[in-house]
């Protein structure tokens, strides 16, 4: 039975694709919360669209999605977070952006709004800002505890955010994150945007996943307008997505080892990353392949000779990477840092619906390419590597195995690359329509939900990074570890600040 049909609901939205959306009242909303709390489905997203709050659910078989909509009365809706903690930060964000209140919410502090915007509730009925009081971090009590405050500006070339550690000697008793520093108001800029402008904004939600964001955005638009990109475009998209995955995995595997003071791996992986970006540039004219995926297809074809460049890259990686894996596996000082460090339990990974290597390193076998799945991956052979240990080492190994899968995927993509058109023309449908799109970025699933007006402009677009559900898990994984292992744990998660803060 379809997920939506297990819930008491009103009418389905007429133009919502490819999965259904329906308005629910108290019975349906509470049933959904019950399913979440019992672990019978996963929270995929929760976002404002005044006067509605939408909740996206993923079936535990990973093959079905349903969107439920609650119409707020007096700007209020029943809290999901009170029974299902993964929703807490999303509810705080909804309040900051829309002014919609979750009744019974366990945490009513602000989240993205740090008090500097000059307005409150910028996406809802905005009101002038009042001077914010100091942010109340959670209290910690106990003998011999001390606090360490880090950020927003960090010591390396990394994104800004604040970490408040409470430590007992060297051991972390609690980490509390304070994010929102790179909130750019992307969802407000998206309102009323043309599809061209919106695609560019979506592609800059998190630069390291620009291909994945453009991919998910294109999925959502194409679903809303009920069109399909041509086969060649679909294969080129997957080629770019796998190159992006390779580049990020190389960079991060090296950086994790560097945080364990093993710079040889860092240098060698850095070379592979650079070679990947150079191959990307010679194929698509941009090292990060920004703005090549567009709604309806792709903006440009692979350059002549591009496929040979990619093949040369694959040959080089196949020569060098196995040796680097050996090096990683056989260096005791490195293993000493990564094994049994920063353990995320499978139960938490499942509860939070952790995507990417964070989930897959802790036994959660979700990969949006496989299930619910999208073209061309349904035509390609690949495995989804999963480990149970949940430590830094498991997350590294999942990424190593994913590199191998991506190499094989690229082989298949190049071999089967169909000819034909690059893009279909998009016509406004003349009526309001909605679409939901997913794409598997290197760090996990990106969700894009949007509503287009009759002229094909964006009325509302929501972008949800995998980091929303991974950041809180980092707080859990670091508990009981020593402060000095934080950079290592943090890098093994590598959550996006920009993708989260939007």
């Amino acid at each position: 039975m379809a997920l939506l049909d297990t819930i008491t609901r009103g009418d389905k939205a007429k133009q919502h694709r490819p999965w259904p959306r329906a308005i629910v009242t108290d019975a349906g909303w509470q049933q959904a919360i019950g399913l979440l709390a019992k672990g019978r489905c996963t929270l995929l997203g929760l976002w404002g669209d005044a006067p509605f709050v939408h909740m996206a659910l993923l079936a535990d078989t990973f093959d079905d999605i349903a969107v439920l909509s609650w119409r707020c009365k007096d700007g209020k809706y029943p809290s999901v977070g009170v029974y299902h903690p993964p929703a807490i930060r999303l509810e705080r964000a909804i309040r900051d952006l829309f002014g919609l209140e979750a009744i019974g919410a366990p945490d009513t502090r602000t989240w993205l709004d740090l008090g500097f915007w000059g307005v409150r509730h910028p996406l809802g009925k905005s009101i002038p800002a009042r001077k914010p009081g100091p942010y109340q971090f959670l209290p910690t009590e106990g003998e011999g505890l001390h606090q360490i405050a880090v950020g927003p500006v960090h010591a390396g070339i990394i994104e800004p955010g604040h970490f408040r550690f409470t430590a007992n000697g060297e051991h972390v008793v609690r980490l509390e994150q304070r994010l929102g520093y790179v909130h750019k108001g992307i969802e407000s800029l998206l309102r009323g945007a043309t599809l061209d402008a919106a695609a560019k904004l979506a592609a800059r939600t998190s630069g390291d996943s620009t291909v994945a964001y453009a991919f998910a955005f294109a999925h959502a638009v194409e679903a809303a307008l009920h069109v399909k990109a041509p086969p060649r475009a679909i294969y080129l998209r997957a080629l770019m997505a796998e190159l992006e995955r390779l580049a990020n995995h190389f960079g991060d595997i090296g950086a994790i080892c560097n945080d364990a003071s093993f710079s040889l791996m860092y240098a060698q992986c850095g070379i592979l990353r650079e070679r990947t970006l150079r191959a990307a540039e010679s194929c698509f004219g941009h090292r990060l392949m920004m703005d090549v995926i567009v709604p309806g297809g792709v903006a440009r074809d692979i350059a002549p000779g591009g496929s040979a460049q990619v093949q040369a890259l694959l040959a080089e990686v196949r020569k060098v990477f196995p040796r680097l894996i050996d090096l990683y596996d056989n260096t005791a000082s490195l293993q000493d840092r990564t094994v049994a460090t920063g353990i995320l339990t499978p139960a938490l990974a499942r509860q939070f619906g952790a995507g990417g290597y964070v989930g897959r390193g802790s036994g959660r076998k979700f990969d949006a390419r496989k299930m619910p799945g999208y073209a061309p991956y349904d035509d390609l052979k690949f495995e989804v590597p999963v480990l149970d240990a949940g430590d830094v080492n498991a997350r590294v190994w999942v990424r190593i195995r994913e590199v191998e899968q991506s190499l094989s995927l690229i082989d298949q993509i190049l071999k089967r690359m169909p000819g034909g058109k690059l893009k279909v023309a998009l016509k406004a449908s003349g009526k309001t329509c909605e679409g939901l799109g997913l794409a598997e970025a290197f760090r996990g699933d990106v969700l894009v939900w949007l509503r287009l007006d009759s002229k094909g402009r964006i009325e509302r677009c929501h972008l949800r990074d995998a980091s929303w559900f991974q950041w809180p898990l980092l707080e859990a994984a670091i508990e009981g570890n020593i402060v000095a292992d934080f950079p290592l744990c943090n890098k093994s998660f590598n959550c996006s600040y920009s993708g989260h803060d939007i």
């Binding site: 390396g156 520093y181 560019k200 630069g207 040889l264 850095g270």
Partner: protein, 171 residues
């Protein structure tokens, strides 16, 4: 490990020849760097990077400056952890309102003489994020900027050109 180490010894260097300094960058810098400062610093600069709201694309390319191909340190340019050790602040992003104060504080914590390099289209005037309730605009709306390196994101070669221009004028 021995094999990998040995091979790196016999393998020729990957490092590329340095690019010519960027002409436009040179001209812009010439106006902002004075002779006294040059004499004082010698041929080396310490850079502190600040993400003031970037999408992180610019950071990826700034990172790449440290890989074997670009090897920034051979020019006497290196990234440091504290603004107190820095001669140059390299700032990315449309300066979100939430980062404005942190940027200002970092600038104030950096000793004189100092230079500010704004990196990326966003850092020029807010770029694609200009006009949002949550963004200030360009870096120069918050702190004085000596050099802009454009691009979305600028490639490591473009970054290197800009930095070499800075070095020629600062040293």
């Amino acid at each position: 490990m021995r094999k990998t180490l040995f091979e790196s010894l016999v393998h020729g260097p990957l490092t590329e020849p340095p690019p010519a300094p960027d002409e436009a960058g040179l001209a812009e810098l010439a106006r902002s760097v004075n002779r006294v400062a040059r004499a004082r610093l010698g041929r080396s600069l310490s850079i502190r990077e600040i993400d003031a709201g970037s999408c992180n694309g610019c950071e990826l390319e700034i990172h790449a400056l440290n890989n074997a191909f670009y090897d920034l340190e051979r020019f006497g340019l290196r990234f440091v952890a504290s603004p107190r050790h820095a001669d140059v602040l390299m700032v990315t992003g449309p300066v979100t309102k939430n980062m404005r104060e942190a940027l200002l504080r970092t600038y104030n914590a950096t000793p004189d003489p100092k230079w500010v390099v704004a990196v990326g289209a966003c850092a020029v005037d807010g770029g694609i994020f200009a006009g949002s309730y949550a963004c200030v605009g360009g870096v120069s709306d918050v702190v004085p900027v000596d050099l802009h390196i454009r691009g979305c994101p600028p490639s490591p070669t473009e970054l290197l050109k800009g930095l070499l221009a800075l070095l020629e004028h600062a040293s």
